[in-house]
């Protein structure tokens, strides 16, 4: 698979079809990969595709296409971000070549909790789950432990903007219900939820890693960065933090494809995907469509349905 990816990337770069290929390469440790920007056929040899390739590379597209046409390795989930970016006029369809990689699931860092990180030499897909090579031998980790939650409930097929399909989509049946976490969360009373989030948002240090890692947060200037006291204080008051996260969530309504990069990037461990998924579920139920499906669709909060939209005073 990795070879196929490198080969394809090489072809695209050699023929001049694209200026660069964005993919993954080995990171500073065996359990991390890092984004790779290959601009020559030689660079393409560095590309890897393994369970540590968690990043949603679509985040790089709006700035990358300014240098010319770009090919990008996307997992089926990340491909949804490309759809959104095209839909929202941040990239032209013609400026991007999507190389959809077959994805059995990507690494949940918790899976390695019991292994001394310094002994890890390699991580690869094996069987249903992953195999971790360490100094003291090979450890197999089953699927339910190995992968991120989003992967365990994933039913995604190739995104609507697939250009190149690499390998065959792995046969998977979801292990979990997509909304299992929400169902669990919703057991809390409304007031318990208020307290829960007040506590979570108090942790926030406003490093904005959530926003910066999010492919849908491409604004040149975020509302929260406006000069003067326009929307929210720059301080980490719990209230200001709440406003920041709530507004960011509303800004993502109908646009969040659930890649989970916000939560993964958060150094404070705030469960941000719970917010995104909750809102997205509402959007799907209320307006009958979701994010990342059709590059030609109208924006969900930029359109309406005269008769079908929920109404405060239904007849």
């Amino acid at each position: 698979m990795e070879n196929e990816l490198r080969q394809k990337a090489k072809e695209l770069l050699e023929s001049g079809q694209v200026k660069q290929v964005i993919g993954y390469e080995d990171g500073s440790t065996a359990f991390k990969s890092t984004p790779c920007f290959a601009s020559s056929p030689e660079d393409a040899d560095r590309l890897v595709w393994n369970p540590t390739c968690v990043n949603n590379l679509a985040v790089y597209l709006p700035s990358a296409v300014k240098q010319g046409k770009v090919a990008v390795a996307v997992k089926p989930c990340d491909g949804r971000s490309v759809v959104e970016l095209i839909k929202e006029h941040q990239i032209n369809r013609d400026d991007v070549v999507t190389m959809v990689v077959p994805c059995p699931g990507v690494l949940n860092p918790d899976a390695l909790a019991d292994i001394d990180p310094k002994t890890i030499k390699n991580i690869e897909w094996k069987g249903d789950g992953i195999s971790v090579t360490t100094d003291s031998g090979e450890i197999s980790i089953p699927r339910e432990k190995a992968f991120l939650d989003k992967c365990l409930s994933c039913t995604l097929t190739d995104p609507a903007v697939t250009n190149i399909k690499l390998g065959d989509s792995p046969e998977r049946s979801p292990l979990k219900d997509k909304d299992a976490a929400i169902a669990e969360y919703e057991k809390m009373s409304v007031d318990e939820r208020r307290v829960f989030w007040a506590k979570e948002f108090t942790k926030c240090i406003r490093c904005y890693a959530c926003r910066q890692a999010c492919p849908a947060c491409y604004c040149k200037e975020c509302f929260v960065d406006k000069n003067g006291q326009v929307w929210a204080l720059k301080s980490t008051d719990p209230e200001a933090n709440w406003f920041f996260h709530m507004t960011r969530a509303m800004h993502l309504a109908g646009r969040c494809i659930g890649c989970g990069e916000c939560e993964r990037s958060c150094p404070m461990g705030i469960p941000l995907t719970l917010i995104g998924r909750t809102l997205e579920k509402d959007v799907e139920e209320m307006f009958g469509s979701g994010a990342g499906q059709d590059p030609d669709a109208l924006p969900i909060l930029g359109s309406f349905d005269l008769t079908k939209d929920p109404d405060p005073c239904p007849e």
């Binding site: 929202e88 491409y218 406006k226 326009v230």
Partner: protein, 660 residues
């Protein structure tokens, strides 16, 4: 620091009775940025306004809050007042302490507390107010009328008579529209041609009217007062200047085709004028069907025979771009094709025809020269069955709406049938008789009572051929029994539907349509000829089915609107419109998506050398109405509504949240 003046009005006892105006004014004086605060019996009175003007001068006030009645009532008054004192009128805020406070609460303490809060909010907002200015928008005093039917002609004539230039664009080779196809008009039975033709000629000869037939609007940009319109004049293949209208060309043309004007009942040639009274009386070559064009230049009869060498096969489509100040859409309707009613045999039996075909059959200039005969055997019909609501009021086959005119033309046809064929008998199947115009009900009664038309309330279930006869099976719901009529002819009163290209034109004009593609008016009651886009008006059946009197009345209404617009020297833009911060806009186009007025465009920012950098949204101030829907949609707050900017509204929220 801003210097805000607060003026608390007693409104006699209207406010003072439930709000302690003196104490409120005193407390307001301590609000941040307030430099002066006072109360007065009637702020809107002349002495009250003078008090404000004097205080502005004396205390160097730069922003004013008037706490009195609803801004919907006196905002213009106080804006004028402060602008007379040298302040920008938009430096005013009003706190509504009457309608929203003193009149709806009894407890003086509670009402006073609320009044002070409302003032604090207004003060906080006023501090963020900016001077706003309206811009002068140039105005091109020339109108474009799209559609050369009776409505379009009327609009053009009325505007032209008022002294303004008009371009009348018609898609077909002649103006006249649907009305030109009719024989007589209800309820007066005037000959349609006799009343329409003079108007057509008037329009053609009017010095202020330019008629472009066989032409279509290709592109519309700009906004009220400043539309730029590109019109495609299709290649006519006949030189309009040389042609004398002698008609030799179409006499000699070897290619025969069904005539659209005669609804396929008659024939025309490949070079043709649609009807004898056509304006202009200049033929056009139907290139798709012309032998010269089909066979690579082999025929050429018309060019050879033309005495004035007017036929020119080399003519090409011509694009004309011009500026217009206003546009009137008068594109009319098209008759609905009743084929979906398979049970009624339309298209299967030649003597099942539509009402418009029937109209052509007894029109003196029609295919039978006014002789009413059956298409199948050219014999005059005796029993004629008219069926109402074909495609109207029928969700299943056609449209749920009423086409409004069918009841009347059914009555007209039933009456005329008796006049043409004395021993004929008309049967009319109807659902309801809707005859609600001047003289309409009387006309229907006359048809029934004097002309013996038999009206049957019910629907027809089936029409089938039995020898020469058409058997019409239906039900008379009033008698409560099935009926069967041996008819010679069946006439279907087909619905009116929007033109097939209505949606395209709407998109081009940036106006909206309803679910049936009729153009949407700005307000169903109060703005029936306007659309939401300023400078664009509607006339006739392009909005909704209309009869001739309604269409003409609306046409004159639309013309009056245009003339009213043109009577101004120039246009003033509303200052409270949206503005884009180009530094932070990322061109996601959500603002564009939600704008009800297509007032937002995308523009390319360039560096000093003119090289493109990136694209951003920009607001066309002539089109923006200031609703602010775009502002609420913009995630990066890059578009703001002047007068209602985010920081103004947030200041109000904060002033209230932190009120002591």
């Amino acid at each position: 620091m801003a210097r805000v003046g607060v003026f608390v009005c007693w409104c006699g006892s209207n406010i003072a009775k439930t709000v302690d105006v003196v104490k409120v004014a005193e407390a307001a004086g301590k609000l941040p940025s307030v430099a002066y605060s006072t109360d007065y019996k009637y702020m809107c009175s002349e002495p009250g306004q003078n008090l404000i003007k004097q205080a502005i001068e004396e205390h160097k006030l730069d922003r004013i809050v008037v706490a009195s009645c609803s801004p919907r009532l006196h905002e213009p008054t106080f804006r004028r007042c402060i602008s007379e004192a040298g302040l920008n009128p938009f430096m005013l805020e009003m706190a509504n302490i009457r309608e929203h406070c003193s009149w709806v609460h009894d407890d003086k303490e509670v009402a006073s507390e609320k009044a002070l809060d409302l003032i604090a909010m207004s003060v906080a907002k006023a501090v963020k107010n900016e001077a706003l200015f309206s811009q002068e928008i140039p105005l091109t005093k020339k109108a474009l009328v799209i559609g050369g039917g009776v409505a379009g002609i009327q609009v053009a004539l009325d505007i032209a008579d008022a002294g303004y230039k008009v371009t009348l664009v018609e898609k077909t080779p002649s103006i006249g529209g649907r009305m030109a196809q009719y024989d007589k008009t209800f309820p007066t039975l005037d000959c349609a041609a006799c009343i329409l033709t003079p108007k057509m000629v008037d329009a053609a000869s009017h010095p202020n009217i330019e008629i472009m037939t066989y032409a279509e609007v290709e592109k519309v940009s700009g906004f009220v007062g400043n539309f730029e319109v590109t019109i495609r004049k299709k290649a006519r293949s006949v030189d309009m200047k040389k042609c004398t209208g002698c008609g030799v060309c179409y006499e000699k043309c070897p290619k025969k085709l069904p005539s659209e004007f005669d609804c396929g009942l008659g024939q025309r040639k490949a070079i043709y004028v649609p009807f004898p009274q056509a304006v202009p009386n200049v033929p056009v070559i139907d290139r798709e069907n012309c032998r010269y064009f089909a066979d690579g230049g082999k025929c050429g009869v018309c060019a050879k025979i033309c005495p004035s060498q007017a036929v020119d096969y080399t003519l090409e489509d011509e694009m004309i771009t011009d500026k217009y100040g206003a546009i009137v859409a008068a594109t009319g309707f098209q008759p609905w094709d009743p084929t979906p009613y398979t049970n009624l045999g339309y298209g299967r039996y030649p003597d099942v025809i539509t009402s418009l075909q029937f109209e052509r059959l007894f029109n003196a200039s029609g295919p039978t020269e006014g002789k009413l005969v059956r298409p199948s055997d050219h014999k005059p019909p005796k029993n004629v069955v008219f069926i109402s609501c074909i495609g109207s009021r029928d969700d299943e086959h056609g449209y749920p709406y009423c086409s409004k005119v069918c009841c009347m033309y059914n009555a007209k046809h039933a009456l005329l049938l008796k006049e043409k064929v004395h021993d004929a008998q008309a049967y009319v199947f109807y659902m309801d008789i809707r005859a609600n115009g001047k003289g309409y009900e009387e006309f229907v009664r006359r048809t029934i009572e004097k002309y013996g038309a038999i009206y049957l309330r019910g629907r027809v279930s089936r029409v089938f051929q039995d020898g020469e006869k058409l058997i019409v099976r239906g039900v008379d719901t009033l008698a409560g029994k099935p009926v069967e009529i041996e008819a010679d002819m069946v006439v279907l009163a087909a619905a009116m539907e929007a033109q097939p290209d209505a949606k395209d034109l709407a998109r081009m004009l940036g106006i909206s349509t309803d679910e049936y593609n009729w153009f949407s008016e700005a307000h169903p009651k109060l703005k029936p000829v306007e659309v939401l886009t300023a400078g664009i008006y509607l006339a006739g059946a392009c909005q909704y089915p209309k009869d001739i009197p309604d269409a003409v009345a609306q046409a004159s209404g639309a013309a009056a609107k245009v003339v009213g617009l043109f009577a101004k020297e120039s246009l003033q833009s509303e200052p409270t419109v949206a503005e884009v911060n180009e530094d932070t806009c990322v061109d996601c186009q959500l603002c564009k998506e939600v704008c009800p007025y297509t007032a937002i465009d995308t523009k390319t920012l360039t560096d000093r050398a003119g090289n493109p950098i990136r694209t951003v949204s920009c607001v066309n101030e002539g089109l923006c109405h200031g609703c602010g829907t775009c502002v609420a949609a913009c995630r990066s707050s890059s578009i703001q509504l002047r007068g209602f900017k985010d920081n103004q509204i947030l200041s109000e929220i904060d002033a209230l949240a932190f009120a002591e």
